[in-house]
């Protein structure tokens, strides 16, 4: 079974600050990590391989330093790694990114003899869009299941998974190949092993440019991105809210009154 895991290198969000003048992230001195949701995707991929056999190919699109994220993924048990990197990708929105990744996955299919499952984290901690996974499946024209919290059953040509919803979960069957996005409930990512870290250090990382993946230049980067960023701003801090004091009947009466005001406007 060939499993492809798509990951993204992101700034460690606990450290991120925004430059109030330019409205951009201050990335200086901020550590880069694998997007936390993608860690669950890696773990899901490696567990699937351990159960079914096969290989896990991890892909990221990003600048050359994103190689560190790929090596970390190898240390956790991924077998091969692809860095899709080209200046032409700069300024990609989720549409252009998912197009680029879908081209890379098509090339992967040629290099590694097809694919059965593609796994992505549900969203990235920096952009929070949750659009790239579904975008990839659309570009590849394969089924997608988002917010997967459990892979119940995998057969030669189909899967059964649990998909988390606000009310509970759906049980969904899908034919292969299929794309999942996973939520943190699916597993607990492993700590790498020392042997894995050693393998990761010397592993060969494939680096593919726009030309290598046979992508149409007009669909890449800024020119291939229909999204227009109108404004970026830091949302105002929430104020502390209103604290209602008094004995129980007083508090209840006041609360009901306030709620009535809200409902009736």
């Amino acid at each position: 079974m060939n499993i492809i895991v798509c990951i993204k290198q992101v700034p460690e969000t606990t450290d991120v600050r925004i430059n109030p003048e330019t409205n951009t992230l201050i990335r200086d001195g901020v550590k880069s990590i694998i997007n936390p949701f993608d860690m669950y995707a890696i773990e899901a991929g490696v567990r699937l391989k351990e159960k079914m056999g096969g290989r896990v190919i991890v892909i990221t699109m990003g600048p050359p330093q994103a190689e560190a994220a790929l090596r970390e993924a190898i240390s956790m048990g991924c077998d091969d790694a692809v860095l899709v990197s080209d200046r032409a990708f700069a300024g990609s929105d989720t549409w252009a990114t998912s197009y680029t990744l879908s081209c890379a996955i098509k090339k992967c299919a040629k290099e590694f003899n097809g694919y059965d499952v593609i796994i992505c984290g549900k969203q990235a901690s920096d952009g929070d869009t949750a659009q790239v996974g579904p975008g990839i499946s659309t570009h590849l024209d394969i089924p997608q299941v988002t917010y997967v919290k459990k892979i119940e059953e995998v057969k030669d040509n189909s899967v059964k998974v649990e998909r988390m919803t606000e009310e509970g979960f759906d049980v969904i069957s899908a034919p292969l190949p299929v794309l999942f996005t996973v939520v943190k409930e699916i597993n607990e990512p492993r700590i790498p092993s020392l042997k894995g870290m050693m393998r990761a250090k010397s592993a060969k990382i494939l680096v593919w440019t726009a030309k290598d993946i046979d992508a149409d230049p007009k669909d890449l980067g800024l020119s291939g991105s229909p999204t227009n960023v109108v404004k970026i701003f830091t949302p105002p801090h929430r104020t502390g809210g209103q604290i209602i004091t008094g004995d129980t009947s007083e508090v209840t009466a006041k609360t009901v009154g306030l709620l009535k005001d809200v409902i009736t406007g």
Binding site: R190, I191, P192, S193, L194, K195, M198
Partner: protein
């Protein structure tokens, strides 16, 4: 300070650090309270290959390196000295087999210990034989192809939870220290049971138990080296393991220093963070400097052991004695910096002081270490 670690050593440090922060620190207080053995952490350490650091590659390990073992133990101990010793004590129990086991013994026992599938423990101390290890009373009597063990060991770290025990017993009382021999005893052997589990001041995540041998019959092939080699096995084992105890102490001290430095920037008195007071800055300076001196001594000693240096006894004793004395002092100062809060169990620092204390006592009290260092120094320099 840059200790010119190799890439592999940097990885070991990074990996052990990650385990300490993500898997040990969150559960340290709980294990301290309940005294439950931290199997869930041991499993993570096992899967990370760190149990392989004290076992040769041909037996499934990562190659024997005291330096690597020290780096791992130091990092794990930063988060919890009690959980870290469950790991380090397995090294102590394994060294006799690594050093003196024959090929068959190594093949039988080391692969599972390297993978962390089983833990090891070392059984020397007895109720009447602590610092005076020569007075042990447990006997091993040869009968045909077997040895029959009788006696009681106590204060055995990993006792009960380990599967593989290296045990020292007297085979010939008339020969004194040359009458002791070392054996491998498996948990579950008939006649081998466990006594009481100790209720301890610190390192409460680790188990400390009595081993009771009552006509315990073990195959003669479980003898390590030869009859009469028991104390040589023990001394050489301690030479290898003392830097590890030193590293445990260092890690506990380092963890306490980090907690103190963080606390003093948050805690405000007289309208200022207490880190702005010079008196406390000087305390931190002494703590940091002494820990760094301990680290330099431990790493030098560990590297000498790995390089095959023969007369390592005094250096190994110095590392253990100095690092554990420094660690206890540093934990005391770190608690002092926390003031009244530091005395409360709501804060993690009091546990560091309790955990640090044992490092001055086990694997030879620091007074015994001073005996070793003193005698060796006089012998070397007094000619």
């Amino acid at each position: 300070m840059n200790y010119l670690l190799t890439d592999e050593q940097k990885m070991i440090k990074e990996l052990a650090h990650k385990i300490a922060e993500e898997k040990i620190r969150p559960v340290a207080a709980q294990h301290d309270k309940t005294e439950e053995f931290p199997w869930e952490v041991i499993k993570v350490i096992a899967e990370s290959d760190l149990f392989g650091l004290f076992i040769p590659e041909e037996y499934g390990g990562m190659g024997v390196s005291v330096m690597n073992l020290c780096l791992a133990t130091e990092e794990l101990s930063r988060a919890c000295g009690g959980i870290a010793v469950c790991y380090a004590a397995s090294a102590l129990g394994t060294f006799p087999i690594v050093l003196y086991g024959n090929d068959a013994q190594k093949k039988k026992y080391l692969p599972d210990l390297a993978k962390g599938k089983k833990l090891a423990a070392f059984g020397l101390t007895e109720p009447e034989a602590g610092s005076d290890a020569g007075s042990i009373k447990t006997t091993a009597r040869k009968e045909g192809n077997y040895y029959i063990l009788n006696g009681t060991k106590h204060f055995i770290t990993n006792g009960g939870d380990a599967e593989t025990y290296s045990v020292v017993a007297i085979t010939d009382k008339s020969k004194g220290a040359r009458g002791a021999s070392a054996f491998i005893v498996e948990k579950g052997t008939k006649g081998f049971t466990f006594g009481k589990k100790e209720d301890k001041l610190g390192i409460r995540a680790s188990s400390t138990m009595e081993l009771i041998f009552n006509d315990c019959k073990i195959p003669a092939e479980n003898l390590l080296a030869k009859e009469g080699m028991g104390f040589i096995v023990t001394m050489r084992t301690f030479d290898m393991s003392r830097p590890g105890v030193a590293a445990q102490a260092l890690g506990i001290g380092q963890g306490a220093l980090e907690l103190a430095a963080k606390y003093m920037r948050q805690r405000k008195q007289f309208d200022k963070p207490i880190s702005s007071f010079q008196g406390l800055q000087w305390m931190i300076a002494d703590m940091a400097t002494e820990l760094e001196a301990a680290r330099a001594l431990i790493y030098s000693c560990a590297r000498a052991v790995d390089a095959g240096e023969k007369d390592i006894g005094a250096a190994s004793a110095m590392a253990k004695m100095f690092a554990s004395d420094v660690a206890f002092k540093v934990c005391d100062m770190a608690l002092q910096i926390h003031g009244g809060y530091g005395y409360m169990k709501d804060y993690p620092i009091e546990k560091y002081l309790r955990d640090a204390k044992i490092c001055q006592i086990y694997e030879g009290t620091n007074q015994i270490q001073r005996n070793i260092i003193g005698l060796q120094t006089i012998k070397d320099l007094g000619k």
